[in-house]
């Protein structure tokens, strides 16, 4: 049980990598990249977890009355989500343009250069 959450993160990351390498569709590849990224959310939140702890928000919890989970990794996970969303948006915009210019979204057919 002690390492299971970390191994889940590894599994999700590798599944995403496998999808990226064998992808036949760029939109599918962008989705696989998002899967890889979600592994980092699992890893970060697993690192910050503490048994029996609550959220690090003290609006309705008396400070010091209960243990709280690590807020630093939660903030990092938030950064991760934002960066992930922007990267996905930018990549999808690129896919839209590739599809228009080349008429295909299969990465294997995108071998020729075109101005």
């Amino acid at each position: 049980m002690g390492v299971l959450p970390y191994l889940v993160a590894v599994w999700i990351f590798l599944a995403g990598c496998y999808g990226l390498a064998t992808s036949r569709n760029l939109i599918h590849a962008v989705g696989c990249l998002a899967v890889c990224q979600s592994a980092t959310y699992v890893l970060l939140l697993a690192v910050g977890y503490r048994d029996g702890a609550t959220a690090p928000v003290f609006s309705d919890v008396e400070p010091g009355s209960r243990p709280v989970v690590d807020p630093v990794v939660q903030a990092l996970a938030l950064t991760d989500v934002v960066v992930g969303a922007t990267v996905t948006a930018l990549l999808l915009a690129l896919v839209v343009q590739i599809s228009k210019r080349h008429g295909t979204v299969d990465p294997d057919e995108l071998s020729e250069l075109r101005g």
Partner: protein, 246 residues
């Protein structure tokens, strides 16, 4: 490279990577352990500055400079999407036709839209107190506007969403963050250091020094950025048509 060879290569490299990652995981501190030195220090620093939501304190006080970088990434990505998804010379803009919407859908969206918008603004405003903050609330507020596209049609959405205003809002709120940081420098402390304003009373809207200001700037920036981003994608889907293929 043939697909079969590539699959072999992926499997070989993947199993190597998997072995390394599993070895690394076995060496990590145990899941659910009680030792979180950085977390404990972040909680102490947050309470010292009377910010109830420690995650907001980490984002907008202790790591405010990193959040500036994060905001710049968002800004740059939106800029990139605007450039990539512009109307090119061989495309023209078609007026979107009014679409038929079932009455229950229309009624439901018009009912939910103000609630969703208010929820977004609430989450932004209470970022330093309760879970949420500028990033989360900004996304909620921005997507709530797009309920109009579901409930009415694209032209109704375009009327409440003049893109130019949101692009200016995006830039203004990004500069508001930097200006708040520079105010610290002018006051004789460091860039983005939270020592400028009084910390206020714990667990009230005005607590936390500059945290609520930076949080509001981020909220506005994210809301504007998401609106601009979605507008560019919707333009591609609804309005822009290709005249001839290359």
């Amino acid at each position: 490279m043939s697909p079969r060879l590539r699959l072999w290569l992926v499997c070989a490299a993947g199993s190597g990577l998997a072995a390394l990652l599993v070895a690394a995981c076995l060496d990590l501190p145990g899941f659910g352990g009680d030792r979180h030195p950085y977390g404990d220090r972040a909680v102490d620093a947050s309470l010292a500055r009377r910010t109830a939501n420690t995650v907001a304190s980490v984002n907008f006080d202790q790591r405010a400079f990193d959040t500036l970088g994060e905001m710049s990434i968002l800004f740059a990505a939106v800029l990139g999407c605007v450039v990539l998804l512009r109307q090119t010379r061989d495309e023209h803009r078609a007026r979107p036709e009014p679409a038929h919407v079932d009455r229950p859908v229309r009624r439901y969206t018009l009912l939910v839209l103000p609630v969703a918008l208010l929820t977004g603004l609430y989450v932004i405003a209470h970022g330093q107190l309760s879970p949420g903050g500028g990033f989360q609330g900004g996304v909620v507020a921005a997507t709530s506007l797009h309920l109009l596209y579901v409930g009415a049609d694209y032209r109704a959405l375009e009327r409440v969403r003049p893109i130019g205003v949101y692009e200016v809002g995006d830039a203004l709120s990004a500069s508001a963050y930097v200006v708040t940081g520079c105010a610290g420098v002018l006051a004789g402390t460091a860039f983005l250091a939270n020592t400028l304003l009084p910390y206020g009373t714990f667990n009230t809207l005005s607590s936390g020094g500059t945290v609520p200001l930076l949080n509001a700037a981020i909220g506005m920036e994210v809301a504007c950025a998401v609106v601009v981003l979605l507008a560019r994608f919707l333009d591609q889907a609804v309005e822009i048509e290709e005249v001839r293929s290359l």
